[in-house]
Amino acid sequence: MIGVSYYEHFPDGKAPTELGYRWGMSQLSCAARSAAEVANWLATDYSANNPQRPLQTLRVLLSPVPGEKVPPLRGVSPRPATSANVAEALREFVDDCKRNPDDVAFVYVAGHGVQLTGHDAIVLLSDVGSPRHLAVLDGAINVTACHSAMSHADTASTQFWFVDACRLERSDIVREFATLKGAITIDLPVRQSRDELEPASRAGDRPESSFVSPIFLATSSQETAWANERERSVFCQALLESLRGAMAEPDGACPDWHVSTYSLAERLKRRVQEIAHAYGKKQHVETNGRWGKAVVHRLPPPLVRLKVNLLPSQAAPFTSASLLRNAKTPVRRIPKGWPLITDIDPGIYLLTVTAKAPFNSSVEDILDVKPPTVDRDVEVG
């Protein structure tokens, strides 16, 4: 988990440099906090609900700006997100992933980003622009290249990568550093021997469907990643909502309530757009990488907030409601009064609303109560 809000060598940092000026960027407000919150989700929600793949190691590298409200981390001490620390943590992470192909790996990187093509994502680390660096991209991590290099047979077979960064084109950087020298990456493994134009799997002998490694990019190319200042990024908010059950459901492959790669991709794309739109901004999640269905997170059936609004509101004193699960089993302890607001198990319910004189009306409605919330109007007038 890497979160970089503070950039020492930017113009508004403690030690600005000419190279820092060249990036033309300012400090961020909540990248470190966002990474810390995702780390805490792994250490708490994930750990509590996924005993079959328990959390074994967690590395957190944070460089917050002064005043950033970073929550205390559970069970781990963060290191500053400098290039040296990130390179060391990456080496340890790569070694850990080699231990057991059945393991699951999570990577989350938040900070300033740049891109060279529609699929690139380079994230700047805290010491980018240091006078000690030889190349402009010293102090950056090429996350998509690291991700590609981790797509092989001798590593964790299920990986989830999240890049929470802007992806702004810097044509001068493109021109001068087309080969991306300096950015931290991982060497590609030696290719499996095979002839071209024959079916092959990059993940070696493993069946095609068993290697899953999507990479979720918080923005499309040339877009800015937005954040609620001093709180958390839009992408982080949508990600945590999704992982906490907003898009969970059981299916044929996994009868437990769970978040899958498929449901996460669908929810993240829609939710990030919604949140950004609420602030008058545009942000589009892009997903690449090795695709397939995998369980990201198992969780108990989440309670769903049901809200039923009565129309017209003047009918409230004369109107009552009942809620039958599967049209048979009454739900007990429905609060009285309107609007009807209650937290119930997900499921399908028959709602009956009866209004006495002068409204004299009875309405039946089938409610598909799914996470995260259901909001329904019922008209009796």
Binding site: S171, T261, Y349
Partner: protein, 531 residues
């Protein structure tokens, strides 16, 4: 006791064997447990109770309906197609438009400022389309050969039909705010020969154009819809089927190319190398197919195949691909080709594409480039550009311009006061910039942020300092005597809108102008502030 059953019948808005196989209908019970998945079937017996029926339509949208299955009763669920009204609203008005060739668009892909100046002519609608333009302020400025174009009465819908053999199709759509280039996913098969664009301008005046495919092009539409709505699993499943079906039957080669790009994006290209080879062979006019095959060949262990891949890549990147993903892939291949042979050629091609990259919209599905009218105007040689010889790095200028916009312009402070305030707040910065740096900063503010420098006349010091003449030469002399950047910027504005100078005079002015900048600006500037 045996369960009491009823029947659930489902009516879908389409009957496509491929889509029915890929887009399942899911039936969940009252606890949301999955109880059945229907593919080709449209009816099922279920124990009585409440169910949730979920279907993904060919638009990519997921629709969920709760139903009550009752004992011995048939419950029918209808899923409706999206309203096709959008595709019918375009009338058959034929627009006269400027002729253009594919060479024109190829030139736009090169890295020469003069090519942007080519667009200046397109910023004015033709006389024949002036009435329609008056309503919508959107017009088709140019189109690829073989296209017939019509536009709706309100101007916001444009219908394009390919009347000739298959070839890359594109439109240049213009508004007073700028010009938008967009490829069209058309080929000669009747179902694939037409599409509709829904065009609007966003709050910043930027053009947006959404392409709507013909309803008959069901698989292509579904592919786009699934990806746009984030249903990537289903999208990939459909792409696997579609690349064989659409390229093999030659029904929709452009959608086949899109399928190939999706498979590449999700790490599955190598498993579908055969249809990629077929696509590139049978449809060489689709650059995207060539780029995909180059990607496959780049992974080969045979040097001859890698060389062939390099040649395909060079051929394909001479002009615009149809899809943005293909451009991304081509750039990645140019930057990271596995063989050193041809490196100089690839670097040269990358250099040539830098201009296109700057205007390319990687967020679109179809290849899209956009130029604002400000950018186009800035590229026209007749407009005066403040001293380009500034030694201050462009990134520093861009950053300073952003600071000025954020701290001052966005708060509605008149520009003349902004300069004064900025100089007072940041005297050391202004000293560092020097005269030429301030001039270059003014240029960045105008070019990148559309700041109206004409408002410089609001500077309270100006009326006391300059008595402007109608004659440009008089003003040049006045400014030269004083050496004030503000005066120079004012005269530059006047110069920009003036046609009084011959090319030789213009060259002389530029020379004088630079000299004037370099003579004691700071002193003069501070003197003004002291006053």
């Amino acid at each position: 006791m045996a369960a009491r059953h009823g029947t659930l019948e489902i009516v879908m808005p389409f009957e496509s064997p491929v889509l029915s196989r890929i887009l399942p209908i899911e039936i969940r019970d009252q606890r949301h447990a999955l109880v059945a998945t229907l593919r080709a079937e449209r009816a099922i017996k279920l124990p009585e109770g409440l169910y949730s029926i979920s279907a993904v339509l060919d638009s990519g949208e997921r629709v969920t309906k709760p139903v009550h299955v009752k004992y011995r009763e048939a419950t029918v669920v209808h899923f409706q197609a999206e309203d096709p009204a959008v595709e019918r609203q375009c009338t058959s008005l034929v627009l006269p438009m400027q002729q253009a060739t594919n060479a024109f668009v190829s030139a736009l892909f090169s890295d020469q400022l003069a090519d942007e100046a080519m667009l200046a002519d397109l910023l004015q609608p033709s006389d024949a389309s002036a009435d329609r333009v008056a309503a919508s302020k959107i017009w088709v400025a140019a189109a690829s050969p073989g296209l017939s174009i019509s536009q709706s009465d309100d101007g916001h819908m444009i219908h394009a039909r390919l009347e000739a053999d298959s070839r890359p199709s594109w439109l240049l759509i213009a508004s007073p705010a700028g010009v938008l280039y967009r490829t069209l996913p058309l080929s000669s098969d009747p179902a694939c020969a037409e599409c509709t664009l829904v065009v609007r301008t966003d709050s910043a005046g930027k053009l947006e154009a959404k392409v709507v495919l013909a309803p008959e092009r069901r698989i292509g539409k579904a592919l786009h819809g699934l990806i746009e709505t984030g249903k990537l699993g289903l999208g990939v499943d459909l792409a696997r089927a579609a690349i064989h079906l659409l390229a093999g039957d030659h029904a929709d080669p452009i959608s086949a190319a899109y399928s190939g790009l999706l498979l590449q994006r999700f790490g599955l290209l190598e498993e579908h190398a055969k249809p990629i080879e077929n696509l590139a062979r049978d449809f060489p006019w689709i650059p995207d197919g060539l780029i995909l095959l180059a990607a496959v060949l780049s992974l080969s262990r045979r040097p001859a195949q890698v060389r062939r891949g390099h040649q395909l890549l060079m051929e394909a990147t001479r002009s615009s691909p149809i899809f943005a993903d293909a451009f991304s892939l081509a750039l990645a291949l140019l930057r990271r080709w596995p063989d050193e042979d041809g490196e100089a050629e690839r670097q040269a091609r990358l250099e040539a594409l830098t201009g296109a990259i700057a205007h390319f919209d990687f967020t679109s599905t179809l290849a899209t480039m956009q130029w604002s009218s400000t950018e186009i105007a800035a590229s026209v040689p007749a407009i005066a550009v403040p001293d380009p010889a500034s030694e201050v790095h462009p990134d520093v200028l861009r950053w300073l311009a952003e600071v000025i916009v954020k701290r001052y312009v966005s708060h509605g402070i008149p520009f003349g006061q902004i300069l004064e305030q900025f100089a007072a707040d940041n005297r050391s910065v202004v000293e560092h910039l020097g005269l030429s740096g301030v001039a270059a900063l003014l240029h960045v503010l105008r070019a990148d942020h559309d700041v109206d420098l004409g408002a410089l006349t609001a500077w309270p010091l100006m009326p006391d300092t300059y008595q402007f003449s109608e004659d440009l030469e008089d003003n040049v002399e006045a400014v030269r005597r004083d050496g004030s950047a503000v005066g120079i910027a004012l005269v530059a504005d006047q110069f920009g809108s003036s046609s009084q100078l011959s090319p030789a005079e213009e060259a002389r002015w530029r020379s004088d102008y630079r000299e004037a900048f370099e003579d004691g600006y700071i002193e003069g500037f501070e003197q003004h502030l002291g006053n």
